[in-house]
Symmetry: C2
Subunit: 465 residues, 2 copies
């Protein structure tokens, strides 16, 4: 193992040069003008897998951008990891806010640390390249990695992984593994590694309240009929209690309360409401009584209004009573809430609270996302904890995600696999913004940690839980 | 007097031809492409006044379209009327929905009545032409009208009478009169004349609630802060009681309750909620308890939401907690409510109900409109009642307006004059829509009624009140 680490160390500058070469390819998945560049990046990735010794490499075409698949089955008695990452990147706009061009990687020292600046370097090309390089190191030193590896590296993560589900469904046999190790999914804070235990699910709903069949003059008709905007305001107001708790009947029915241990772990994390409020520019925290801010974001379900509109919204005034008021809602879900059931509860609530003079029209999105959670003693987490304690000299933070992890749901649903997120990018690295960067030290640490991870997984004895 | 009526009768076909000539001029005030046509219409009106014998005729230029002024002071001991009307018209779009071209007047028989179809024929060229023709008849038969006349005929009514206030302010002396008789302002229903006793005032306000300083991802932040859209919904919901009564403290303080007689008069009008709901396509009436629909529209104040918006309003979903929610409100006011005071009450309410974590930003429109009401025994109304009883054999309906009459406020504020509305167009004549028409019988009736009006005003004795 020491030899592998030495090999990684010795080749660090070469790896950095390779990462620079990788990020020079503007593989912007959302813009058709870059389609050839996305294809080029897929070929680059496939080539890199082959050079790392991966014997089975295939570019799986989709109606969109391809998925690069690789497999190196070394020993059927050893564990098998399915490694996930993506080679596509966000658009670089606004270009004028970049200090150096987005596809001309540049190393700069900022805040005492070396950073590589380029679009996609943190999300996800840097983190994604790590397992490919670690494979090469094992091949060079040991002839092969210590476990079985499968790679699923997609080119559409930044456009909602449009065709990933279809690819997974079509490749059920080839994707068999013990669990997924994801090179995507940034760590929580700079300076300390973290492991993500859960993500919330999602269900969305749009609805309209329709009063009169056409817009009316509010002079002539004002006072005589219920204004759909007032009806909408009341309906939205009925969704929560004043305290902040969701007032939809049955909303919390299946919510699995966090254990005292889980709550204590969240309580122990470094967090200050004051600093949080300063970051988002808000005046106060607010939410379900009895829970801290992190608990409200991570382990409690929520119902948010994402859009609300009706009537005249342009400059100046217009004396109108609109025919219709509209709203978009979404709920974040926690185990064991079910998106379909929550959607039903929500619709029932809207019907129950819709005034008799209003017609309710509901456009529910057919697909919700289930909440995702890893058991705290999942072997993939135990390995990760041990590795990070070893590389960083301290226990990683155990965090959760308020948002949704669609790929974790996809792998769970079709392959029955849990996903352990083991990216070495950090949430502050301006991915999706100008001047995206990746910390060189995290790149180095990632190479070491992934090598140790595979080694430990291959030799599971003695893992602390 | 009979000779004047005979003269009007005898010249009816000629007058009709004149009206047709007048509506051939496309005096669309809102579209700069028609500016020359608007000027042409002003000259046509000035010429018509001169031909009717009006000795003092002047085209008053404004930064927009001109006002045509005329004066015929016959006897300082007689009453003086200021006659108001407008010679500009709405745009004719959509052209394809006109059965005959908008500026090519055509007579058609519909529902057993003769109608003249053309843009502006009902609003307001037909009604406006009446006093000019009646002046001519008096001149022809008697040498002069029986009262003193002043004319103020504007070319910007359809664009909000932009420069009328300035003209009135500049002409205070020349506009001195006993009251205003308006040739604009349609009657309520076809088949029976009506007199308008009041119009509601108006005050408008726009405001924002601002939470975080930028839009936030509702996955990461959902549940942890108060969503501005939820705060807005609650604030809007707080403006009314569930019953429909306005909940703003002090809102009703100065409201002058209608007398039992006034309420009985409204109660006696032909009205069915069912027919009203069918007309507007709504499911039910709703409003301040204890009042009928017409009372809610005419003699009770109201607070309406004219616009409400925030967050993502495009197609599909976006998981956002917006930084800001916005709303536009307007109140209709009744005597003796004061727009400035109501605005203050409203602002106080918003501040009082704004949650501590939200910042309230108010953009109040500086100008409100006062409510307008004529005393029921106003001499101008008494004359009108007597004339209409005589010409139609029945008492006119006494109605009110839910909307605002800016010109009545202008004349009241600057000249201290009440305005009696005595138009012979009807609310169903599709002004502001394709196929605008004016009923020939109402044109004939208008000529007779205006002649009788002036005659009666000149000989006030024996008027029933």
């Amino acid at each position: 193992m020491q030899e592998v680490l030495k090999h990684l160390e010795a080749h660090f500058q070469a790896y950095l040069a390779e990462l620079a070469e990788f990020v020079r390819i503007p593989s912007v998945s959302t813009d058709p003008a870059y389609a050839a560049e996305v294809a080029k990046a897929a070929h680059w990735v496939a080539q890199r897998l082959r050079r790392s010794g991966v014997p089975e490499v295939e570019i799986l075409e989709t109606p969109g951008h391809p998925v690069v698949y690789g497999a190196w089955e070394t020993d059927p008695r050893r564990p098998t990891l399915l490694i996930y990452g993506h080679y596509d990147v966000q658009p670089p706009d606004p270009l004028e806010r970049w200090q150096t061009p987005p596809f001309a990687p540049a190393i700069r020292e900022v805040s005492g640390e070396q950073r590589l600046y380029a679009r996609g370097v943190s999300d996800d090309k840097g983190p994604m390249l790590i397992p490919l390089l670690v494979t090469e190191a094992f091949q060079a030193v040991k002839g092969a990695p210590p476990i079985n590896l499968k790679f699923l590296l997609e080119g559409e993560e930044e456009v909602g992984s449009r065709h990933l589900e279809a690819v997974v469904q079509a490749q059920l046999q080839r994707l068999k593994a013990d669990f997924v190790l994801s090179a995507d999914g940034a760590m929580w804070r700079p300076g300390v590694s973290s492991l993500n235990l859960s993500a919330r699910g999602l269900v969305s709903l749009e609805f309209s309240l329709i009063g009169p069949s056409k817009d009316l003059h509010s002079g002539r008709h004002g006072g005589a009929i219920l204004n759909p905007l007032v009806a909408m305001a009341r309906l939205i107001a009925s969704l929560h209690e004043a305290s902040g708790r969701v007032a939809v009947e049955g909303f919390y029915d299946r919510v699995c309360e966090a254990s005292p241990g889980e709550r204590a772990a969240i309580q122990a994390l470094p967090w200050e409401d004051g600093a949080y409020l300063a970051e988002i520019g808000a005046q106060g925290v607010y939410g379900e009584p009895g829970y801290s801010t992190l608990e409200r974001q991570w382990i409690r379900p929520t119902l948010e209004v994402n859009g609300l509109w009706g009537g005249y919204t342009g400059p100046g005034g217009k004396t109108v009573i609109p025919s219709r008021a509209q709203a978009k809602l979404s709920c974040r879900l926690v185990p064991e809430q079910n998106p379909d059931e929550v959607r039903e509860r929500l619709i029932q609530h809207l019907h129950r609270h819709c005034p008799p003079s209003m017609r309710l029209e509901i456009q529910a999105e057919p697909h919700g996302a289930r909440p995702y959670a890893l058991p705290s003693d999942h072997v993939g987490l135990r390995v990760a904890r041990a590795v990070l304690r070893e590389t960083e000299g301290q226990k990683p933070l155990e965090v959760r995600m308020g948002g949704t992890l669609p790929i974790a749901n996809t792998f769970k649903e079709y392959l029955g696999l849990d996903t352990v997120f083991f990216s070495f990018s950090t949430g502050d690295e301006d991915f999706h913004a100008p001047n995206e960067f990746f910390r060189l030290e995290r790149f180095r640490l990632g190479l070491e940690a992934w090598a140790r991870y595979w080694w430990r997984l291959a030799h599971l004895e003695g893992l602390e839980t």
